[in-house]
């Protein structure tokens, strides 16, 4: 006897390729969101986003006319009031140095946290990108559907972009936008915008490099352990070797974390902000000026071109690896 096929029929037009790619992205992110580690990372990232907004709010309220600092200073005697008035005056005279410098510092610090959280998340994610699909022959399942290998790849790339948006870019944008919404005047938006753009630029460069590297590493092996080990070697071991003072230049350029540090220094221009502050701000003692100048020197990139070349080579090599391995076996 034949079984009775009591089925609903599906005769609708299939949804477009954008929907199918989004299905890959959202499914990957949903699986990641089920892990406790990722939720912890998410909590840390968005706490940092709120902190950016809070710092912006505190700065604006501290130094703006009629802000809480000025109000509090009136109750603390004429000397404190004079200092606070002087700081307020600095803002009026040097808004680019005070506001721009403050936000450059905040975004610079946030880039360490954002990048760090993303690297930890990618360590968990790397085996799930391509390696596990190759191990279980899932590529055949994907590519026997109305999807091409480019769609599959874009889906996986979207997963990495999603992680970076959730852990880095999202909190950064949120923190800045909220901080600006709460700021008392337009100066804060105008003078923090450039540091914000610098932060986004660095974020974009890191995104391209990390996405390509993660996909390349994930495509190299079929099992989880070698994939994670290779990722850790590239991230931690190569990073540690690059920090060794006697390490040759070419060896330093192998480490993407070292190269990203160089790029960070160039993109954020923290050295310029510090040098400008030491040269322009009055009332600084000689010692404070020297300290700022020394800090500016140490925040200077030494091998930006080499670092960019290193990142470029890594990105190209990784892309070659995952493009070659993408066809189903």
């Amino acid at each position: 006897m034949s079984p009775s096929l009591d089925l609903s029929r599906w005769r609708e037009a299939p949804k477009g390729v954008g929907y199918r790619r989004w299905t890959i992205i959202s499914s990957g992110l949903r699986h990641l969101l089920r892990t406790r580690l990722f939720i912890t990372l998410l909590f840390m990232a968005w706490t940092a986003g709120f902190l950016i907004a809070a710092f912006g709010f505190l700065l604006s309220q501290s130094i703006a006319t009629g802000g809480w600092l000025e109000t509090a200073a009136t109750h603390m005697g004429p000397r404190v009031e004079a200092v606070v008035t002087a700081i307020g005056g600095f803002i009026v005279l040097f808004p680019d140095i005070i506001i721009g410098g403050f936000f450059t510092l905040v975004f610079w610090l946030h880039s360490f946290l954002g990048l760090g959280l993303c690297l930890v998340a990618l360590t968990v994610m790397v085996p799930r990108l391509i390696a596990s699909d190759r191990a279980s022959n899932a590529l055949t399942i994907y590519l026997s559907r109305p999807l091409t290998s480019a769609d599959y790849l874009l889906g996986k790339l979207g997963m990495i972009v999603g992680v970076l948006l959730l852990l880095w870019t999202g909190p950064l944008v949120f923190g800045w936008v909220l901080g600006m919404l709460l700021s008392p005047d337009r100066d804060f938006i105008v003078y923090s915008f450039l540091p914000f753009l610098h932060a986004l630029t660095f974020n974009g460069i890191a995104l391209v490099v990390l996405a390509a590297t993660a996909l390349g590493v994930s495509a190299l092996s079929r099992t989880s352990s070698p994939t994670v080990i290779l990722w850790m070697v590239l991230w931690i071991f190569a990073g540690a070797v690059a920090k060794f003072p006697l390490a040759p230049v070419w060896l330093r350029r192998v480490s993407f974390s070292h190269n990203l540090s160089e790029v960070r220094m160039t993109v954020f221009r923290l050295d310029t902000a510090l040098a400008d502050a030491s040269a322009s701000l009055p009332l600084l003692t000689e010692q404070m000026g020297d300290s700022l100048r020394k800090a500016a020197l140490s925040a200077q990139a030494h091998d930006f071109n080499g670092a960019m070349m290193g990142l470029g080579v890594l990105t190209v090599l990784s892309s070659v690896v995952f493009l070659r391995k993408l066809r189903p076996e």
Binding site: M1, S2, P3, S4, L5, D6, L7, S8, R9, W10, R11, E12, A13, P14, K15, G16, V17, Y19, R20, T23, I24, S27, H31, R128, S132, D133, A135, S136, N137, A138, T140, I141, Y142, L143, S144, R145, P146, L147, T148, D151, R327, P328
Partner: protein, 326 residues
Amino acid sequence: MNLSAADISPPDSPGQTDHRFIVETDRLCKSYGRQQALADVTLQVPPGTIGLLGPNGAGKSTLIKCLLNLTSPTSGSARVLGRDIRVWNRASREKVGYSPELDSHISGMVGCEYVTYCGQLSGMSFRHARQRAHEILDLVGMGQERYRSIDTYSTGMRQRAKLAQALVHDPAVIFLDEPTNGLDPSGRENILRLIGSLRRELGTSVVISSHLLHDIERICDRVIIIAHGRLLEHDSIEALKNRHRRIVELAPAAETGRYLAMLTQAGLEVERLSNGRLRVESASDSIEWVLELMRTHNLPPAEVVTNPNALHELFVRALAIGPNRT
């Protein structure tokens, strides 16, 4: 040159599944280095349940992979459901399902989530995919196991999950590569019945690759035989049987000796089989002459089976043909 709408859009709209041929190939070739996996395969396969037969390494899986664009043909052309696989890469697979021979799944998902996800990858909305996933999983005989991680499934359950993902988006044609491998006898029976009823009840054409001739003979109405990458036979089972030696097997209820004497007397070469049956070669497609003999000689009733192992004979003959056949 002006292009008409028919030139720039797929030849059929979604939902329209009436095609004269589900698969058309024209001198399709596939080489791996110096080894030729497919050589000038030209086919026009009408809708139905089609068995794809051939020894190991004959090129069955390669043919299916070429039709799905999982591997690029070296030369020649192919159309699936009227769509050229090169021109309409994605669209050619919209109404096609595939259950590969190798264990293939997306790890880290539970069964129903996996089948739903596959439906979504074919363009179904989550709601429709979810509903169809549960219905198909019921159909392939998966109960509460559907809520377990697919990584923990036995071979048989994975085979069912593979079939479910191939069917979830209500395809017009499905390619099944050894779909009963690893199934226990009752599971195999259920799956074969299901496959056999797909065309009849849903209108879904099936191309099933298997080396189990009995299964193919039971559920298929057409057969394609491939060996050494070449197409050897493609016809309906009925026609193939008739084209080959017309064998009749008789299983008399009693008086086997009289049957033997009667057949020998009629000038036929009779072979007595170990199971007690009598095997003779018939001169015609009809078995009227046997019934006439039984009536004339007043013989007891007998089971009469025509061309009992025709497919097997055909297959063995195909195996005997060398790789250089032209």
